[in-house]
Symmetry: C2
Subunit: 390 residues, 2 copies
């Protein structure tokens, strides 16, 4: 496999955009990524779309050619990839292989989701399709309640507290407040976070990520051709050092232990191996905080902290922008927003911004080596990506 670089990145703000349909959002992000790479659409050889539930949110299916043609790309392979909330992470993984293997030189990966067009109960219902409908969903579970069980068990096994969970929310809101593209730019206090109304106990309103519209896109290129594009060097290429995807059972009750995800550990192991790096080498990370407990579990599964220590480390400030391992400097899914199919590529765009020193007020000091972790369902899919300075 040959080295692959990201030569262009672009995304929309995440939020509620009643005037923009799914395709308009996708095209906006795709055009930004092309502009960033200074590339004509005709140069793109294959189009990889990550989208979880466009047909259920908007009726429109067959979304890949629906979007790629509107971006000026016709004739090329154009396919949608679905892996729940890790859909665009999965698309990125396949796109990486397409270039790394030498089949393509230049491809685009785009993630998009349009969720706010449906009322909240219907959104929850659509999202629950990422769980096991025959068992979990039939029994009344929703994603907040599944992650509530995970939180409850983590508290029981490791002494994680209500305050630990809220420390994740407070930190991510503080970061998101500095992100002009974030959906909820609102600093919250620990007291506010701890006393918000319950959603699925022990999780409350501030433990849950947002319902969002948004899109994000990146252009991948064979590393040895990266310098041909973005010729004025305004858009510095970024190296893909490692990327891996792993899977596990969809239903939570099939897992021997619900406080750790085998798919996350498996994908991380492969991505670290590919990059020739260890968890301690990573300087910052964008983690899949669909719920506050998910960020804590991810910290542990990725090897950033010991098992059971994620909550304590967070409460001690370890994951703040000025801490030893900054997590979700973007604001995370919690504050930046979580348009599910866009989240994986959105995280990659956040890493690219940091590595390029384009993150403005939330720019990190150590920003040469970042990791993104994109989770699908309650741990049935995980994609881990490691990016580094060129």
């Amino acid at each position: 496999m040959r080295p692959v670089a990201i030569i262009g990145a672009g995304k929309t703000a995440f939020g509620a955009f009643p005037d923009q349909d799914l395709r308009a959002l996708a095209v906006a992000a795709g055009e930004k990524a092309l502009q960033n790479a200074q590339l004509e659409p005709e140069t793109v050889e294959s189009f990889y779309l990550g989208n979880f539930a466009g047909p259920e949110f908007t009726s429109q299916n067959h979304l890949a050619p629906y979007i790629s043609t509107a971006l000026g790309m016709t004739g090329i392979p154009s396919t949608r990839f679905e892996a729940a909330c890790a859909s665009s992470g999965a698309a990125f993984f396949q796109a990486f292989m397409g270039v790394a293997s030498g089949i393509y030189d230049v491809v685009m990966v785009l993630g998009v989701e349009k969720m706010t067009c449906q009322p909240t109960p219907r959104v929850t219902e659509i999202l629950s399709g990422a769980g096991d409908c025959a068992t979990e969903v039939k029994a009344g579970s929703t994603f907040p309640s599944l992650f509530a069980m995970i939180a409850r068990r983590h508290m029981h096994d490791f002494g994680t507290t209500r305050e630990h969970l809220s420390a994740v929310a407070v930190k991510n809101h503080a970061n998101g407040a500095l992100n002009p593209d974030a959906q909820m730019r609102k600093v919250i206090t620990l007291e506010q976070a701890m006393n918000a109304r319950p959603i699925a106990e022990p999780l409350n309103l501030y433990d849950c990520s947002l319902i969002s519209d948004g899109a994000a896109a990146v252009v991948l290129c064979a590393a040895d051709r990266a310098r041909e594009f973005a010729v004025d060097k305004s858009a510095k290429p970024v190296k893909i050092l490692g990327v891996a995807q792993a899977s596990d059972w969809v239903a939570l009750d099939q897992k021997p232990d619900i406080t750790t995800f085998a798919a996350v550990r498996g994908a991380a192991k492969k991505a670290y191996e590919m990059a020739g790096l260890a968890p301690g080498d990573i300087q910052f990370a964008e983690l899949h905080d669909c719920f506050t407990i998910a960020e804590i579990v991810a910290m542990e599964d990725l090897g950033f902290v010991q098992r059971g220590r994620g909550g304590f480390f967070t409460a001690e400030g370890g994951t703040r922008r000025d801490g030893p391992m900054p997590v979700n400097a973007s604001g995370g899914l919690k504050s930046k927003g979580h348009p599910v199919g866009a989240t994986g590529v959105g995280q990659i765009c956040d890493l690219v911004q940091q590595i390029r020193c384009e993150a403005g007020d939330r720019q990190l000091k150590r920003h040469e080596l970042g990791l993104a972790q994109n989770l699908g369902g309650s741990g049935a899919t995980c994609v881990v990506t490691i990016l580094g300075e060129y």
Copy 2:
């Protein structure tokens, strides 16, 4: 790119199976393919699922790990690919690249759809998501009416007749009657086919493919390792000589000419080039006859006959099992059934059966080199695959 072989194939019958849910169908096909290859599930390194609208038909989403774990595969990348009715063709294309590039040695591609759990009007509505919902569907178009327009224009431009369309139906029903896995094993006369009740004029009931449940799976392997598996030689490996995917606008009104599909011509050109073959070299084909007119147009776009001659050639018997270019010896989507997400891999299984001389009563005389054409929507996606004897 290195050579790739199919070392195992398996499918369910296509039909209405109220007692089997989507996962049960998928697992049945997947297990047959593993048995055929004499392979343990642990040997499979990546899982590629083709499915068009499982979440809308059955509520269950995140289908790839939902199925692969039930097949005994955990930890591996497991992703769903969607490209309308070409979903499993698209999955096959990506899986081929995964092995051809040397990333994987052994992978599984599985296509599945469960459609009969919804009433027919809702099925039509779900399928219309493969068209342009903002224009075509909003204006009341359904897939029968889109293909009716194509038929009408083909008749106007080339003199194709009502009898030509029915000749496709009569031939495919005659073939399907010999296929124990076909949904509608019923011979029909030309008179019956011509006088059936109208669906969207000029298309009548016998011009339309079926609403089906079903699944199909194949195991791909690096050709140089193919002989390690199926050691008793019961399952002869089959070579993948060429495979390509192309895309075009989803909406019919964006095409300069609706009687020919650029995506089909584009995918065919690339697949022929990869195989080093011309249309005249192909001995038999499985074409995407979602409607009778689609088979006629495909014949022309693939270069089997001259533009405008597809109907005449069919009426003259050219595509019968004993004709110069047998098409849909399986019965096609028309008689065998069309569980949309399974159709692409189902066609591949049909080619494999013929090449291995396992097609029973419908076995063709010239069966060493076959082509499958899998179409998504009204020509927005096409995957063309050419298989040959090992």
